[in-house]
């Protein structure tokens, strides 16, 4: 479709409007970004300073607080392990449903998705009691189990969708070439679905890292994640906004960046494929 000139007035208005909206909505984050590089005094300056000499002192201070690293480590461990564990459990299930035509596959898949649809708060009491009784409160393991199970339906769903994209005939060809099931899975299926695994893993990493409901309720000093740590800054302890910004920035930056790369998976995964 050819246009005479791209720069019609409508185009200009749209561009300006779009940028205005984007900047407005991004503003809080942008402000967070800026404040992280300010001194505390600059952070609470009235009127707010837009131009200042950036400093890294906040990041240093946050780094030196060993408890920040402790919580960050917990976030890393719980997110990564729960994602890997989830993939390990979800992959065989997705494989079975994608390549063996069972009668109940569709029902099983829908049932799995429905477990994700229950609000977390509905399970709060029993999970808390169970965790308490099995001494898993405030442990990494407890959080890992909960994160894995929370994300499992999404992982099965996304792996299943990815597997279905691989033509069955390619796997049949491998069978004819003499491959055992294991060889079929490792030499043909796996290389072809690496992308699916990566994007599923990425999305679940993001979801686990940001998980606040269970982190806040099931963990504190020992196994608390960054979500918990940040929440504990909520009491007004005076002038520490720059440091808070730095800490928050470090907590969210990697995930926001991952998020930029997992937009498509987000749409697929969180709407369970209802929107293409």
């Amino acid at each position: 479709m050819a246009r005479e000139s791209t720069f019609t007035p409508a185009y200009a208005v749209r561009t300006v409007a779009a940028w205005a909206v984007a900047l407005l909505l991004f503003f809080p984050l942008g402000w967070l970004l800026l404040t992280a590089f300010k001194t505390e005094l600059q952070a609470i300056a009235i009127p707010p300073e837009l131009f200042f000499k950036p400093t890294l002192e906040n990041f240093h201070e946050v780094q030196e607080r060993s408890d920040y690293l402790h919580y960050a480590w917990n976030s890393v461990v719980t997110s990564v392990v729960s994602t890997l564990l989830g993939l390990a459990i979800a992959a065989p299930a997705a494989y079975a449903m994608a390549f063996f035509k069972g009668k109940y596959d569709k029902d099983i898949l829908m049932w799995m998705l429905s477990t994700k649809m229950m609000p977390a708060v509905g399970a709060l009491v029993p999970i808390y009691v169970l965790a308490q009784k099995s001494h898993l409160l405030d442990t990494q393991l407890g959080l890992i189990i909960v994160f894995t199970l929370s994300n499992l339906p999404i992982m099965v769903w996304m792996l299943y969708s990815g597997f279905k994209e691989i033509p069955n005939e390619i796997l049949e060809a491998a069978r004819m070439d003499g491959a055992t099931l294991w060889q079929e899975a490792t030499k043909v299926l796996l290389p072809l679905s690496l992308g699916t695994f990566a994007s599923t893993g990425l999305l679940c990493l993001v979801l686990s890292w940001n998980e606040a409901f269970w982190s806040l309720n099931l963990s504190s000093a020992q196994a608390g994640t960054l979500a918990t740590l940040i929440a504990s800054y909520s009491s007004p302890e005076g002038l520490f906004w720059a440091k808070l910004s730095a800490a928050s920035l470090m907590a969210i930056a990697p995930i926001v960046v991952f998020g930029w790369f997992s937009q498509k998976q987000l749409v697929q995964g969180l709407t369970f494929g209802a929107v293409k």
């Binding site: 033509p167 005939e169 390619i170 049949e172 060809a173 491998a174 069978r175 004819m176 070439d177 003499g178 491959a179 055992t180 060889q183 030499k187 043909v188 290389p191 072809l192």
Partner: protein, 351 residues
């Protein structure tokens, strides 16, 4: 003993009986073609032989060994898929050597075999490319190469030419025929195109609704079809099959007893068109198709039967013109009202 023997093969999809008891003996080195309309079960039958579907009834024997319940990987059969099913993440060389690698064959031997197959198929310049970088025709050759390298007991082809354009199809058909001549391997080839069946096969198996209608050499099927279905399936243009009532009395009188209430089958080349006034059977031209090497004349008899006549000469006839017909009834095929062939003389007995 047959090389590949099918006895009472059955397949159910849920309640539906897709393959209804197939018996077939295939000799070593034969090129067998399964042909039939969509849904007749030819691909299913091929997949049953390959082991990609489970055989629900009957036995399958290869060289005397019962392989009915053996998994595909152990049957020593190679399949060329309709969509080629090449491994997208491997190069052409790796695609072709995959099976041998799985069988832990010496790399030097692999290199040698793949090279030879590549030479036969003109794939040597492409060995390092991935399937993405190849044209449809090249991919097809890689699929064939993959099968050749394994030197299997039987080659299975599942409609390999249907994804190619018309020009390439003809070319590849010839190549496949030459390949068979050079390698002499037992081959089962599935197609819905009866021209491929006629040109490639040693024997043709015509299937309909999960049942074998007839087995025979291409010319046997052409000259002596066992029933109306086979008669009309083989041969282009289709054989003219008209109910006897729509034939002039002259023809009806020559019908054998069993054909009363049935039909007569005439190959287009057995219907000779003459200018009006020359013969007893009258007709009118509907349409002329001048194809260059031959001419097809679509006409209608006075009694209303539509017929197609074929001749190698050009014609000056025009639509609407009156003509007379010569019908060679000793080349006619007579069918009863259920479509079964009815014999009249020894020359017309079924094979």
């Amino acid at each position: 003993m047959a090389y590949l023997e099918l006895k009472g093969i059955e397949k159910f999809f849920g309640e539906h009986r897709a393959i209804k008891g197939i018996d077939l003996d295939i000799q070593p080195g034969e090129f067998i073609v399964f042909v039939g309309p969509s849904g007749c079960g030819k691909s299913t039958l091929l997949r049953l032989i390959a082991g990609l579907e489970h055989i629900d009834g009957g036995t399958l024997r290869l060289e005397g060994r019962d392989i009915t319940h053996q998994p595909s990987s152990k049957r020593d059969l190679a399949m060329v898929f309709q969509s080629y099913a090449l491994y997208p993440h491997m190069s052409v060389f790796e695609n072709m050597s995959f099976a041998l690698k799985l069988a832990k064959v010496d790399p030097k031997v692999i290199q040698d075999k793949v090279q030879r197959a590549a030479d036969i198929l003109n794939l040597t310049p492409y060995l390092q490319r991935t399937p993405k970088e190849l044209s449809g025709g090249q991919r097809q050759r890689v699929a064939i190469g993959r099968a050749i390298v394994r030197a299997p007991k039987v080659f299975l082809f599942d409609e390999p030419l249907s994804n190619l354009d018309a020009a390439l199809r003809g070319q590849t058909r010839v190549e496949i025929a030459k390949l068979h001549r050079d390698l002499g391997a037992t081959t089962i080839y599935v197609t819905h195109d009866q021209v491929e069946a006629m040109t490639l096969a040693d024997r043709v198996v015509v299937l309909r609704d999960g049942v074998i209608e007839q087995v025979g050499t291409p010319l046997e099927l052409y000259d002596h079809p066992a029933n109306q279905f086979v008669a009309q399936f083989i041969g282009t243009p289709q054989m003219n099959v008209s109910p006897l009532q729509q034939m002039p009395a002259l023809i009806q009188q020559q019908a054998p007893a069993g054909a009363v209430g049935g039909s007569i089958g005439l190959r287009p080349e057995n219907v000779v068109v003459n200018p009006a006034g020359r013969g007893a059977i009258k007709g009118k031209v509907d349409l002329i198709e001048a194809l260059g090497a031959e001419t097809l004349i679509y006409l209608r008899t006075a009694e209303g039967a539509p017929l197609v006549a074929r001749q190698s000469e050009r014609t000056t006839l025009t639509p609407g013109e009156a003509v007379t017909l010569d019908i060679a009834t000793d080349h006619a095929h007579w069918f009863d009202n259920a479509g079964r062939v009815v014999g009249r003389t020894a020359a017309q007995a079924t094979s």
